[in-house]
């Protein structure tokens, strides 16, 4: 009798397998991460600095900043992007036709957008794009940088030369893409945090059920630096769709920045002043 029941169960099991698999969300059935996204300002902070200020402050251990070899993380964690140090501000207005020079070295490499995908660890207002493949998710930004999230079961390589974006491996947990990154160069983290090559960042990329909102939850953890894991979230919406030849489209833009063009250093040019 017992054997018959087990045999029956064995025969019925395969019938149930597709249903069981269907119940387990996979990237194929879940709202997809793939596509174009822009970071939003859900609390109305109004500026990039304001967005950074809304991040809960990191709870660092004494001496953590020195251990990271930096002067501490700024509240916003740095902007990167077109990069370069600002120039000293003038105290008097420029004459007519004389442009304000606001960036000394535009389009700079360093930790800015055009190197190593560092900007995508702390994305700014530039569009970002995901391509999902079974072995790898590629995360690319319009203001520069590419991150590779490996899904093929590889481990973090050792030895590894630290880089601004570190080395990332990933897996899907239900609808969420969970990315673990180590091997960063030492430096600042948003919310006043710091990092070293040993610091571990776990990011959870979760798309809302309607597919319109992406939430990235960042968890920086390092028992040598943090009293407790440093957690905060960024929010993104799908890129706005544009009308093109009767259809609505969204696509990746190229952000052009020519360091050799003097205009890249400039802000406004004071026009002729008319006094009435």
């Amino acid at each position: 009798m017992r054997c018959r029941v087990m045999a029956l169960a064995g025969l019925l099991l395969p019938l149930a397998v597709p249903q069981l698999l269907a119940a387990q969300p996979t990237p194929a059935t879940a709202a997809r991460l793939e596509g174009d996204w822009v970071r939003i300002d859900p609390d109305g902070a109004g500026s990039f600095g304001g967005l950074g200020a809304s991040i809960p402050p990191a709870q660092l251990l004494p001496g953590a900043t020195a251990a990271a070899g930096r002067g501490g993380g700024g509240r916003g964690g740095g902007r990167g992007g077109r990069g370069g140090p600002p120039v000293a501000e003038s105290t008097s207005p420029n004459p007519e036709g004389v442009p304000y020079i606001v960036v000394a070295q535009p389009c700079a490499g360093g930790l800015g957008g055009r190197s190593n995908g560092a900007l995508l660890v702390n994305p700014d207002s530039g569009g970002v794009h995901f391509i999902e493949h079974k072995d790898e998710v590629i995360f690319a930004g319009e203001r520069g940088g590419v991150r590779h999230f490996y899904l093929d079961g590889r481990q973090h390589p050792t030895p590894w030369t630290p880089t601004p974006a570190g080395h990332s491996i990933a897996k899907y947990e239900g609808n969420a893409l969970v990315v673990e990154t180590v091997g960063f160069t030492a430096g600042a983290v948003p919310g006043g945090g710091v990092r070293t090559p040993e610091t571990r960042l776990v990011e959870r990329y979760e798309v809302s059920a309607d597919g319109k909102r992406l939430t990235i939850t960042y968890t920086w953890d390092d028992p040598k630096l943090y009293q407790k894991p440093h957690v905060y979230r960024y929010y993104f919406d799908r890129s706005p769709m544009l009308e093109s030849a009767g259809t609505r489209v969204s696509y990746a833009l190229e952000e052009w920045c020519d360091a050799g063009d003097p205009i890249e250093k400039q802000s406004i040019v004071p026009p002729k002043q008319t006094i009435k």
């Binding site: 017992r2 054997c3 087990m6 045999a7 169960a9 064995g10 025969l11 099991l13 395969p14 019938l15 397998v17 597709p18 997809r32 793939e34 596509g35 370069g84 070295q105 389009c107 700079a108 490499g109 360093g110 055009r114 190197s115 190593n116 995908g117 794009h129 995901f130 391509i131 999902e132 493949h133 072995d135 790898e136 590629i138 690319a140 319009e142 520069g144 940088g145 590419v146 590779h148 093929d152 590889r154 390589p157 880089t163 601004p164 974006a165 080395h167 544009l242 009308e243 093109s244 030849a245 259809t247 489209v249 696509y251 990746a252 833009l253 190229e254 052009w256 020519d258 360091a259 050799g260």
Partner: protein, 257 residues
């Protein structure tokens, strides 16, 4: 008895499993997988020294030596100032390419500081030129014909980036590129045939082929190499040589100066 019972259950499970999934009998599934595999060009790809078959382009007479020299100078500027480099350079950047095929696009990522390419498979029309800002990579749309991925690209910027095209000529805002991607040798090679047309540069369409070798799937791409336009030493290194053409140098027979 118990052992026999367990064995029966196992056999029953194995026998029933393939039949139980509706519409996916074992043998046809294997047949379906084959074209699917040939239609995925994802992987790490390397262009070796012997991977280029590039004939000389048939240029229009209006493409003068002066125009070609001016373009070469502009290309050197793009390298010097870490500009986005664009097509066709990004397909031969001196480092392996990471190509990943998603559900809406194929992305091609290099290891240099240049924008990735997106080959959109989710639309059949180019972005209207009323809203598309010309770019170094242009606007690419792609579709499969049998086991070949056909990619059509327009919307190029006429001056930004490295514009030199292998075999002669250069990219302009009138250029159109059609590429054909096909796996060869059981997926070990990726053949890409490039065909450039441009009424301001070419007398006839200019076609050449690159063959990329597949790297092991465990390959670790080097993250974007830093390119700092403000590195003084780098700037000096990339300045054009100040040495003038030597006067009175004898010209060998058969050599065009």
């Amino acid at each position: 008895m118990k052992r026999l019972c367990a064995c029966l259950v196992g056999v029953a499970t194995l026998v029933a499993m393939p039949m139980a999934i509706p519409g996916e009998p074992a043998a046809p599934k294997r047949q379906e997988e084959e074209p699917a595999r040939r239609r995925d060009i994802s992987g790490f790809w390397e262009l070796n020294f012997d991977g280029r078959n590039v004939p000389r382009a048939n240029l229009l007479p209006t493409v003068t030596r002066a125009k070609i020299d001016a373009r070469a100078k502009a290309d050197a500027y793009a390298i010097r100032w870490c500009n986005l480099l664009g097509l066709p350079f990004v397909m031969d950047p001196g480092r392996p390419l990471d190509i990943r095929q998603g559900s809406s696009a194929v992305i091609i990522v290099g290891e240099n500081a240049s924008a990735p390419r997106y080959l959109y498979t989710n639309r059949t029309k180019h972005i209207s030129d009323e809203i598309f800002d010309p770019s170094t990579n242009g606007d690419s749309i792609a579709h499969w014909e049998a086991d070949t991925l056909i990619v059509d690209t327009v919307g190029f910027h006429g001056e930004h980036g490295i514009t030199a095209i292998p075999g002669g000529g250069f990219r302009t805002d009138k250029s159109r590129l059609v590429e054909r991607y096909r796996l060869l040798k059981d997926g070990a090679l990726l053949s890409v045939t490039f065909t450039w047309t441009d009424p301001t540069v070419y007398r006839t369409p200019h076609t050449y082929e690159f063959r990329y070798h597949r790297l092991p799937s465990t390959y670790e791409p080097r993250q974007w190499l830093p390119c700092d336009p403000w590195d003084e030493d780098r700037g000096k290194f990339l300045e054009p040589p100040a040495v003038a053409k030597p006067a009175g140098r004898p010209i060998s027979k058969g050599v065009t100066p």
